[in-house]
């Protein structure tokens, strides 16, 4: 009888202990570098890949959402990217950072998705003039009273795919222009031009909004 009570009483605590243990292992893994996690996954610890997924999912999702302009597509493509990265982990030679390698997969997958939807990004609004439709849209009365930070987020979400990708990688993932040029396979000068154009557009909108608000 005592044994029975003992068993029924202690069963849940054993489960809790296991949960704590799992949590503790996860917390330890969280502090490891990408290289250490990849080496562990390569050794057969498949579950450790979760740490890498958790580390990159939100930022990569943001970039895909901004590029594809669709939440559902972004999540679907991101899932595919993580599967591709996992399958090709054996070919990853640690010559570059994992983040750079992974974002190459993410960017190329987004391009494939866009081209399959017959939206060629190369022809899509690559000049300054083409971005002016955003300026006129967000200087309209509807957006005048809106907070600057909310507005900036909205505009970034509407930028052409390449501009959105560069802005996200530069500000969110804090990649250098050299790393972005490696991911996008375009020159550093080109990355800077696109980054500055996007930033100037946002600056102009903020400047004009400030003026309008002063008048009103």
């Amino acid at each position: 009888m005592i044994l029975l009570i003992f068993q029924t009483n202690f069963q849940p605590s054993i489960d809790i202990c296991n949960l704590w243990q799992d949590e503790l292992v996860y917390m330890t893994m969280k502090n490891l570098t990408d290289v250490e996690i990849i080496e562990s996954v390569k050794k057969g610890n498949q579950a450790d890949y979760t740490v890498l997924i958790d580390r990159y999912k939100n930022k990569a999702f943001t970039m895909l959402k901004r590029m594809l302009k669709n939440e559902f597509d972004a999540e679907e493509v991101l899932m595919d990217c993580f599967l591709k990265a996992y399958n090709n982990l054996s070919t990853f030679k640690f010559e570059s950072k994992f983040s750079t390698w992974f974002y190459k997969i993410v960017y190329n997958s987004a391009l494939t998705k866009l081209s399959s939807a017959k939206r060629k990004i190369e022809n899509e609004m690559s000049s300054v003039d083409d971005l002016h439709y955003l300026e006129s849209k967000y200087l309209a009365d509807d957006f005048i009273k809106e907070d600057n930070s909310v507005l900036i987020k909205k505009i970034v979400n509407e930028l052409p795919p390449k501009n959105a990708a560069i802005i996200t990688m530069f500000y969110l993932e804090e990649f250098s222009t050299e790393e972005i040029s490696d991911i996008l396979k375009i020159s550093v000068a080109n990355v800077k031009v696109i980054l500055h154009r996007s930033r100037n557009l946002l600056r102009e909108i903020i400047e004009k909004r400030n003026l309008l608000q002063e008048i009103l």
């Binding site: 890949y49 979760t50 999912k57 939100n58 399958n87 900036i152 987020k153 500000y171 600056r203 903020i206």
Partner: protein, 169 residues
């Protein structure tokens, strides 16, 4: 007064200018109120962009990805097993053909006393395979073989296509 372009202002913000150029831009910003406003707006844009929080995926995203990875592993091992069986069958058939050919060669040549034991064994194996590859069974085996080759060819092509797709990224 020097004309400070947007490009120069952006490079100043990103700390990409030389010490001399920095001094010039800094002086110009202090001198001109319109340029100062432009720079402040750029600075504000920069800090707003830095503070945008990333969007979140669905709650069970990591779990779903891990489930897909495990599921894919099972499928891959099944495919590998299937390929192994197909290749083993192919190997067995080729071995049978080789033995049959040798049996025919042995039958047509004169045998010495020392090779009697070998000929007995070869006769037995040969009889078995000649029955197996007889006129009746040959057409069935042939069609089975071509079917196996077609199926394995498809799987190999599919595997190659997937590997190529993965490596291109």
């Amino acid at each position: 007064m020097t004309n400070i372009s947007d490009e120069l202002l952006n490079r100043f913000l990103d700390n990409e200018l030389s010490i001399e150029e920095k001094k010039i831009v800094k002086n110009e910003i202090e001198k001109s109120s319109s340029l100062k406003k432009r720079y402040e707006a750029l600075l504000l844009t920069h800090s707003l962009l830095q503070n945008i929080q990333p969007d979140s995926t669905s709650l069970n995203f990591s779990k779903v990805v891990m489930q897909k990875i495990s599921h894919r592993g099972v499928i891959e091992s099944q495919q590998k097993r299937f390929l192994f069986i197909v290749l083993a069958l192919l190997g067995f058939t080729i071995l049978g053909i080789v033995v049959y050919v040798f049996y025919q060669i042995f039958n047509t040549t004169q045998l010495s006393d020392s090779s009697e034991t070998i000929s007995t064994y070869s006769n037995t194996i040969g009889d078995y395979f000649s029955a197996l590859f007889g006129k009746k069974n040959l057409s069935i085996l042939g069609s089975l073989l071509s079917f196996i080759m077609l199926v394995s060819g498809y799987f190999l092509y599919d595997y190659q296509k997937h590997s190529k797709k993965n490596f291109s990224h």
